[in-house]
Amino acid sequence: MIDRLDQIFVLLEHWLLGYLPASWQTPAGIVLSVVCIIGLYPALFAVATWLERKGVGRIQNRLGPNRVGPYGLLQPVADGIKSLTKEDIVPTSADAAVHFLAPIILVVTVFMGFAVLPMGRNMVLVDMDAGLLFYFAMGASTELSVFMAGWGSRNKYSLLGAMRAVAQMISYEVALLMSSVVIVMITGSLSLVKIVDAQNHYTYGLPHWFIFTPWGLAGFVMYAIAGTAETNRSPFDLPEGESELVAGYHTEYSGFKFALFFLGEYVAMFSISGLGTTLFLGGWTAPLAVLQWVPSWIWFFGKLFVSMCVFIWLRGTLPRLRQDQLMNFAWKLVLPMCLLNLFVAGLWRFMGEGWLRWVICSALLLLAYVVIGRTQMQREHYGPRSYRYAE
């Protein structure tokens, strides 16, 4: 019974496909899964916008939306109707084709990432051997769409936003990859299914998630920072900084195209959280051995929910970084730490079992963190400002 509940979606799909001739079953199965993914994540997006507005409201001691439906639950519906009925404006001097394609490319590439994410036991669309590589290839394409949006709009604010976005995303793409490479080093596989399987062991009832190792914890922190920056979320939301750039690269978008950008941002958050869950938090595995009877997909989406809450929490807490701070942070702290983490993961791999590797690896990472934090991240102290007046 419990196994059935765990596999309910898989069984449901098999049951539905049973009505089709054998030669149709494979393509129909893929189409069915794709439709499920494309239907599910926008629904989660709607819930997430509500959650975000409520959460940020509570953080600021407000109530948040509470007019549309009970507790404002129908707010996403109202927002959706509003954006669908709004006029779609394309600036006269905009590059119409690029302007039109940008939001579509964003949404398509963001959704492509889900193809390789295992969302439960046996619940993965394509078990690709190079799944991680595929994911990052798709993730990197979002930069293209952001730049297309900024460039195609022919607007200074849009272009500035796009420039910022490209600078930021390329900087943090490196950190994102570097922090994930340690997982590949340890598991020896790029397949996300295999990576989850490698974490699906328990000692004394506790799971072997990679976050519970020194290099895994460091990697997770770096991944979280880089992931937040990759999805243009606060405090790294410079590309769309409202107070500076109107709305950044999507200044010239209205109506449904704007909604697509919004959707793309949130689905990218789900996607990056899903990958982080898969790599460091054991994917769909239970946090305790005794809880293994709970269906695997509940764990996956539960972890997704928690990471979304953390995203919202961070947004409600941190102010936006300045561009130079952003760059310094990426190149002076995150990247050196990631490089060191590669070394530490290697040490861990070849030092063998025992307490010694725990001590050495933790000490190395902690020391590096303190030293880099002290030397590189020191606030620059400027003296009193001196003015020179024109004669």
């Binding site: 959460g55 509570r58 953080i59 600021q60 001691n61 407000r62 109530l63 509470n66 929490w313 961070l314 409600g316 807490t317 941190l318 702290l333 963190y369 303190v370 880099i372 934090g373 002290r374 991240m377």
Partner: protein, 222 residues
């Protein structure tokens, strides 16, 4: 250590998040249409016309002197004088506004009309929910819409209204005393001239009714 501040900030926002569910005092906002904050006494937005008594048309203090119309910087007031006269609060016959329109889409709430009015007839209202779907007719208020009772004025600006009432009462008593004195003088004169010209007695009586309003119009408002 690096990152300490972020953790502190996260703790602070978490405290706010949880606290807003526990204590209502934390919530800084109010549910507007259901709950309202009391308006401060000095609040004002658009002018209205004060009337005394029950009937708004009879009790209107405005005498259509048109000072406010002339002083109004954005020229949002339009007044037409009446042909006939009606008694004002001291009982003197005055013209009244046959038409008194204020276009509140033009009004800039400067209160100059209130400052210049010698009759305490125009005051500032606190009503702010004036949204309408008719942007021309809906925002052009006529004298009936503008007329609000003295009681209403007391309700929205109690101290100011009390001062105004005291001033008006003083003027009224002064006017009454003067009228009395004038009437006595006239009566004495009439008594002297009683023998010769009995029909002329009507004339000083009319003059007595005219005089008391004079200081009222001449003196600037205190």
């Amino acid at each position: 250590m690096l990152g300490e501040g972020i953790l502190k900030g996260l703790a602070e926002t978490a405290k706010n998040f949880a606290g807003s569910f526990v204590s209502k005092e934390r919530l800084t906002t109010i549910e507007y249409p259901e709950e309202r904050l009391p308006l401060p006494e000095a609040s004002r937005n658009f002018p209205f016309l004060v009337y005394d008594g029950e009937d708004w048309e009879k009790g209107l203090r405005c005498v259509a002197c048109q000072i406010c119309e002339k002083e109004c910087p954005p020229k949002c007031i339009y007044i037409e004088k009446s042909k006939d006269k009606k008694p004002d609060y001291v009982g003197k016959l005055q013209v009244y506004p046959a038409k008194f329109d204020i276009d509140i889409s033009v009004c800039m709430s400067c209160q100059i009309c209130v400052e210049v009015c010698p009759f305490e007839a125009i005051k500032m209202d606190t009503e702010f929910e004036l949204a309408t779907d008719d942007r021309f007719g809906g925002l052009l208020l006529d004298r009936h819409q503008l007329a609000k009772s003295n009681e209403y004025y007391h309700k929205i600006h109690p101290t100011e209204a009390a001062e105004v009432d005291a001033r008006l009462a003083e003027e009224k008593s002064k006017a009454g005393a003067k009228a009395k004195a004038a009437a006595e003088a006239a009566a004495a004169k009439a008594a002297v001239a009683l023998a010769g010209a009995a029909p002329t007695a009507a004339k000083p009586a009319a003059a007595a009714a005219d005089t008391p309003a004079k200081p009222n119009q001449g003196e600037p408002k205190a």
